[in-house]
Amino acid sequence: MYHLTGVTNKKMKTNEFISLIKSRGATIVPAAPGTTITIANASLQEMRAAMIPAFLSDLYNSCCGITLGSACIFGPAPVDRGIKYPLPSIMEINRDVIGNKNLFGKTVFGRNDLFWFATDALGKCYMLDNLTLSVLRTYDDAYQAMTDCLIIGKI
């Protein structure tokens, strides 16, 4: 059904998604305090990006970002990775692309070597071309979007 990664996870809950992606070798960053999520949400609205939708809010209550190879889901705060370059926060990523007309009303929440992934305030997700940020496909199931985003990092 999902021809790109071949991994499906219909109608999952956050903890089930985290278990699935962990079993594929992902690194789950421990959750940040609740205030960090509130600050991130306010900052994103100031940038005219989308406010954090329910699925990301649920995810951030469980973790502060996920990495799998070259793919990642950005968290509400930067992640220190020792000798490796820190993983930027969702605010930093969206601040860098502020004003791009393709991202108006959308928040970038993940990336891999081929695509960026964004969401709107209602939780609809978009796979974006990483060169033009034009929409390649839309997802009603946010966990499927996050799965596609991460699995490509480990091919």
Binding site: T27, T67, I83, Y85, V97, R111, L131, T132, L133, I155
Partner: protein, 169 residues
């Protein structure tokens, strides 16, 4: 935004990659084969296996010894490393090892995405085109063979790792 050679180099310098060569390219929209993703996954593995001639650049990527060995043997890619196309597929790039290079995901690959996104509406774009298969900025390569008391970069990376974890037991 239409850049010139000079403004492209300036933009790259502002992104911390003033040593990244660029090539001028007129993008033309192409139709990609339906089975491109399957071919791409195979090609990525071939590219990794071809990196045995690039061990000097890999040694500057701050990898652990396991990551270094797995990469050079073509087994797996370390975290925070990306494989990019010199000419993107949708702009006529070929699915070929010669059209690929490797760099750090953060900050380099992310910043190269931003560099290209800025030019996405231009008729002529400047694309990053490093001389070797692996791009490591010269800012990382300063100093001697290792650093402090380390004899080489791998030992230095190991020492950094040990010292960063010290006191956390």
């Amino acid at each position: 935004m239409q850049l010139t050679q000079d403004s492209a180099m300036e933009r790259l310098a502002s992104l911390g990659m003033d040593d990244m060569p660029v090539m001028e390219y007129a993008p033309k929209r192409c139709i990609i084969d339906k089975d491109w993703f399957k071919k791409y996954t195979v090609l990525r593995r071939e590219f990794l296996s071809s990196l045995t001639d690039s061990y000097e650049e890999i040694a500057f990527m701050n990898l652990t010894q396991d990551e270094f060995m797995n990469l050079i043997m073509g087994k797996s890619m370390p975290d925070n490393t990306s494989v990019r196309f010199r000419v993107p597929l949708i702009w006529g790039g070929k699915l070929d090892i010669d059209n690929m290079f490797m760099c750090l995901t953060f900050p380099h690959s992310q910043n190269l995405d931003r560099f290209i996104i800025d030019q996405s509406d231009a008729n002529v774009v400047f694309l990053p085109n490093p001389a070797k298969k692996i791009y490591v900025t010269t800012h990382l390569a300063g100093g001697g063979a290792g650093g402090n008391a380390a004899s080489d970069r791998l030992s230095l990376a190991a020492m950094n790792y040990v010292s960063s974890n010290r006191g956390n037991e």
